[in-house]
Symmetry: C4
């Protein structure tokens, strides 16, 4: 087998959109599993109850996984000239290396070999999840991905408007409670940013209980805000349900038309 045909075969194994059979290539199945292992490894490594005394083991596993991904990164740079989207450029490999996808991949590999500050390095390693999402979009869930994305896209102005209404509701709720509770609880409602924290925790119905009104006026206002908040939360859910129903009907109508009058 010539180097050229090897490169083409490697490209088809690595690039999920170039895989001609259904689903994912064997190489991508292995890489997806490795990402899952690497993510679990990164999660457990930070927990002293699990990792204490086993730091070495976790570090070694990360270095092994990162080495495999380094090889894969090199193979991608080598094979990218097969990709029509990059082949048109003068320096296709350089062009690929400065693409968002390649930078994210590299950023997830580097922390294994160079020591960064504690927490940040873990966050970088999680960039591997983005690769996972890219793979997930291609398998059997690609149609599902499209229907959900379309349902949101078709009604994007409505969703934007609801987000704006939520922002205004948060602002009004926060300033009302600031006005009512600032004197009674200066540490929790003594400024608008503090009151906004309460407003968000309340309107999303999370309700940690770290901040809540204690004056009668504050409680009366909060009661009204809470009841309105429930209605606000109904809006995005209802919007999505309606938009999704609409999308299903549209697809069915299109299918009916294609069948024609002889159906």
């Amino acid at each position: 087998m010539s180097l050229r045909s090897l490169r083409l075969r490697a490209y088809r194994q690595l690039e999920p959109t170039a895989w001609t059979s259904k689903g994912l290539s064997p190489t991508n199945w292995v890489l997806a599993s490795l990402i899952l292992i690497a993510v679990m490894n990164a999660i457990l490594e930070t927990e002293p109850l699990v990792a204490a005394g086993r730091e070495r083991m976790f570090d070694d596993l990360e270095v092994i996984v990162a080495s495999i991904f380094s090889v894969e990164y090199a193979a991608r740079v080598w094979t990218v000239v097969e990709n029509p989207a990059f082949a048109q450029y003068r320096f296709p490999r350089l062009r690929y290396m400065v693409s968002a996808i390649a930078i994210i991949d590299l950023a997830a590999i580097l922390p294994a070999f160079f020591a960064f500050g504690g927490a940040s390095s873990v966050v970088l390693r999680f960039f591997r999840v983005f690769r996972m999402i890219r793979l997930a979009k291609l398998g059997r869930t690609s149609r599902a991905w499209r229907t959900i994305r379309e349902a949101i896209y078709e009604r994007r102005y409505e969703f934007g408007l609801v987000l704006g209404l939520v922002a205004v509701a948060v602002l009004i709720s926060g300033s009302l409670l600031y006005w009512a509770e600032a004197d009674a609880q200066p540490d929790k409602f003594g400024s608008i940013p503090r009151a906004l924290w309460w407003a968000i925790v309340t309107l999303t119905t999370i309700g940690y209980g770290d901040a809540y009104p204690i004056t009668p006026l504050g409680k009366a206002l909060a009661a009204l805000i809470a009841l309105t908040g429930v209605m606000l939360i109904a809006l995005p859910t209802g919007l999505f349900a309606a938009s999704f129903t609409e999308g299903i009907e549209r697809h069915r109508d299109r299918a009916d038309r294609r069948e024609g009058p002889d159906a």
Copy 2:
């Protein structure tokens, strides 16, 4: 350019509904940005961690923004005679100055120049948000605004009824828990208004944790109330989803009819 034509051009720049091109006029884009800056300024000014030692800076910014809005207010009073809705009155400018829109605008300007009591003055400044909403209704989101408003309006009696049912559920839940827990926790369930606070925080599923039943009877009742509450919250969401779906279908039917039988 005569003063008259200048006034007409200024009117078209200021009044969003009079702008003949798509979207908002450049003047209104600048004003919208200023409102955002002014709101951020007002929020951060109240937070000691941010504002301590920089009170002057925040005050100056507010005075600058408020001065621009004062000029805009004067310009609006001057140009309002171009507005057919006001031109019909004997004193169109006075008529405009006593309209809700102008009073809200003025109320948001005044706190910058006259010292009001702490918290209230911030709330007044937030009145600028209403202007923001008025502008938002005109841009690209105007169709989205209409569909959402229609979905709520078409089923207003159903929404009103659900609100009534929620009110009755809150009242019944509160009095049941008052009856069960008043003796065990007089500070939290010792009166019906106190028990109603618990009922609202529970039925909206916020659950701060500042009040919850501790007696077996109270817990049994609260468990039943919580499970019913989840069903109640399903009502407004389901209503909105159905009403929105209905609105989409109605618009499509209308479009189909317009296309006619030759489609």
Copy 3:
């Protein structure tokens, strides 16, 4: 005017279903307002911060309202013979007095004149709310009431099944956490009824924070249960949305058919 025709007119004023014009009779509007006043009175009377030193005022108001309702009760007993539903019995007035409606009315009146034990008497007074609901069903909201009731009735087996699934989920969640946390937190998870309290507060997403797992196993199980719980809560909302959409379409189809082919 003869006593007979007076009785008929009084009956039409009192019985909302017998009122021939649109909406509610003037008498029922007055009674509805009195119920609202009585409910507010009963709520505020229990709050020491409001009622301390004014107990007499609250008691007097309740006695006045209860007296008016006593007169109304007597008038209803007197006029019930005009009601075809009761006129068929041998003793229509006695028959009415032992009906659920009349007993609830009487139970709400009595606490004003006879001293019952504290909290129970307030709950009895709230029975007036049921009258309010009966009146609300007749006004403009009667169509809304029917659509909501139909949406729930049409899918009653689905709602029942979802309730059953929720009950099973609560039972399984509770016993899993009892198994995982009983030793670590005997006061909160030491028995299944205690763990069920946690399960209900968690699956409804209220989350007071009075009970939560602290062991790693308990937290892992609770995390899975929480994610499942969110899906469970999607069921009744989705069911109601779909059933309501179905009801709207059915009504429209019926309207289309009525219009006929000449539409």
Copy 4:
């Protein structure tokens, strides 16, 4: 009556799918009631406030119920040869005894006669609930069961995708808060598994209040995450609503077609 025909009659009484009349056989009604009693018994037995001094009573009731279920188990093994699904095997009775259904039944019986470790034995007894579900699927709710299952099955890829998105959102939220809060609150955000607990409790809007950010950066991130979380929770609800609406329409279309053009 011969032993053979007795066995057939017993089989029809025991096996719910073999019952020729509508609903459940009398035997299964009795067994369903016994399961409810046994479950209530197992729940209350664990609560010291109820069971203290009455352990004997609860134990006796469990032994009685378990004895009845032992007889039923023996009868099922005896009659299973009548079941065509098992009759095809060489040893139908052995084959039945190693089926999941029979093992679950046995596992629920054994704890009554053999002492297992405390909590586990109660969980085993709850296996009876699975029998309850099997019976519930057959009665009047069978159609409801099918519509709900179909609504979930038809959109299983969309639900799977949403679950995946929730998992990614939990992972990203958790690592962001770990990055922001690990130093300030090492006991609550000091490792990613701990931060994931916070993320799940927050994104499901439970909000126990055992862990929440305290630094300004952590609160700002948590506020964004909370607002996004509300949108995420809209997805499964909206999906289920749309899928259920779709299912209802499909069934109606099929019914319309069956009626034909002469309708």
